[in-house]
Symmetry: C2
Subunit: 338 residues, 2 copies
């Protein structure tokens, strides 16, 4: 067995229950070497997201990874207060974690991204699973960022699937359409992981029970958070389960799962004030011919996966059951399974 | 066998190859009593559409049906010149029909629609298969039109399917988004027949050959037109065939086919100048639960059909093979099959 190549990663997130799953997935993946994490307002405020990220890192035994506070407000307008009905008031489903001893980095999230890109020119991978404010700010700070970054993977948008914050818009993009428009228009190849694929790959109660039954505190904490998340998604799917937005983007970014249908197409973000605000307008008119090449297009839109994601996700997260007993011994507070 | 109930119909069209098919389908359907036809610029100018409509009516032995000229320009802006690459320069695939002896009605299309609604209060069915300029103008002329009309069926829009004139917009709606917005916002129940269902119900070359082999001039003329249409659609589907936009809307309006999935949802039209201009923003977020009821929603969006449409369409059109020998004898010029 060969050791997988480990890629330096910058994670931009708004932690959030599915962000917590994505973070844990990255930490458990030997292909990912997370060098820094920036937070942005989305599911929760950037500050609450940073708090959750620090606490999760400590729980997982990765307190050395620096966390930078990012933008509180989108490029235009103000932060709307997040989605407590989805993620809980604290963003992680009312699960109480031990407060981490580590503090925030002295740089901003955008500054961290630019610094890491210069430290790892041509090899840094960016995974953005919140609104794209920090990434847009980093592009403004360093216009050559696209040439320095190896890959950027974004959880966001809805191509042919319905939206989740409006009939046609997905929340990450809708929370800062102006930033998303700048990021998609920058001169790099973007992998977009939209609702088309994240709503089609669902974690079920049986998977949650596997996490809750694990020995380590990380899977158990995630399983507890998912209890809250499942209750929201019961109103969407009619049963306790959930979409796997952010961890699926993480798995695509590290190569843990592969896309089946993922055409590279022209894509734009609707920044009007009309009913399409925040929509990712992806040109999928070639669908009837299997998506012929679109010259100049740089947005790879993941529409379906090879294989089944949920078992891979659970298996990866369960590696924490062995590896983080140290964190457990350090007194991480995790509620007992309900 | 009982005689089907015949409903008075007003047809609004931009004739157009698939408009010609829809017109012939209506004329051949005992459930439809076409009392008037208005034309609008779309596939061709309103004037060319009226010429084609008059000529087709004469060919089909229905020269008594009045044809009114409608709007040349959309509510905002100017007519863009139509789609000769789809429908041919004359709008009917370069097929030459004998010029009808009947002239245009003295009223406008909008005036005709209002008059017919008053003459058939509560029973008039409106079938709109072009841009909605005339219907919007009729609503302005007679704000109580929604209460007078029994049903309005519109070929237009794209719900979850890609657009055909932009990544997200369908041509009829995109050609006059302001009119479409007024029509969808008026106080009536609308049946929308979008690309989701019209692109999924395709006429193949075998069906075209059945039309060409018919004895009467109407099926043969339609088969010839379809030759032109198929060449355009070969670039979309990769084989000679075509979508059946307008005749499918006609068949749904008369009840010749039935919708399988057709949720009643909130729908709006994007009238911004952004990338979503002309999009029909339909709220299909309930798809994962089988579309629960949306209080106040009045737009029925047809997403799929019961059964196979093409054989029904061909069978209906072939009834002209017997019925219009009189027109043939009158010297209708129809080119020989290629």
């Amino acid at each position: 067995m060969t050791t997988p190549i480990s890629h330096p990663f910058y994670l931009d997130c708004d932690t959030g229950i599915d962000d917590a799953l994505a973070l844990a997935y990255l930490l458990a993946s030997p292909q990912a070497d997370v060098r820094g994490i920036g937070t942005v307002s989305g599911n929760v405020s950037a500050a609450v997201g940073a708090r959750n990220t620090l606490d999760l890192l400590q729980l997982a035994g990765h307190a050395h990874i620096p966390v930078a506070l990012g933008a509180h407000d989108p490029l235009a307008g103000e932060f709307g207060g997040g989605a407590p009905w989805v993620h809980g008031a604290n963003g992680i489903g009312e699960v109480q974690l031990t407060t981490a001893s580590a503090g925030l980095a002295s740089e901003s999230a955008a500054e961290m991204l630019v610094r890491l890109a210069h430290e790892h020119p041509g090899t840094l991978r960016v995974l953005a699973i919140g609104p794209l404010t920090n990434v847009a700010e980093a592009l403004r700070l360093e216009p050559s960022l696209p040439a320095l970054v190896e890959e950027i993977t974004i959880m966001g948008g809805a191509a042919l699937a319905p939206g989740n914050i409006s009939p046609v818009a997905e929340a990450n993009i809708h929370n800062d359409p102006e930033a998303a428009a700048e990021v998609l228009a920058a001169g790099w190849d973007v992998t977009l992981v939209p609702l088309d694929v994240t709503m089609a790959n669902v974690l079920e109660e049986c998977h949650r029970q596997e996490l809750l039954a694990a020995a380590g505190p990380v899977p158990r904490a995630l399983g507890e958070m998912l209890g809250y998340y499942f209750r929201f998604y019961e109103g969407i799917f009619g049963r306790p389960c959930s979409a796997m937005h952010d961890p699926l983007a993480a798995a695509l970014a590290v190569g843990g799962v592969k896309a089946a249908v993922a055409p590279v197409v022209h894509a734009a973000v609707d920044t009007t004030d009309g009913p399409g605000r925040g929509q990712t307008v992806c040109d999928l008119r070639g669908s009837y011919l299997g998506y012929p090449e679109q010259p100049g297009a740089r947005c790879r839109v993941v529409l379906s996966l090879e294989g089944d994601f949920a078992p891979h996700l659970v298996e990866t997260l369960l590696t924490f059951a062995e590896s983080s007993t140290a964190a457990l011994a350090a007194g991480a507070a995790v509620p007992a399974p309900a």
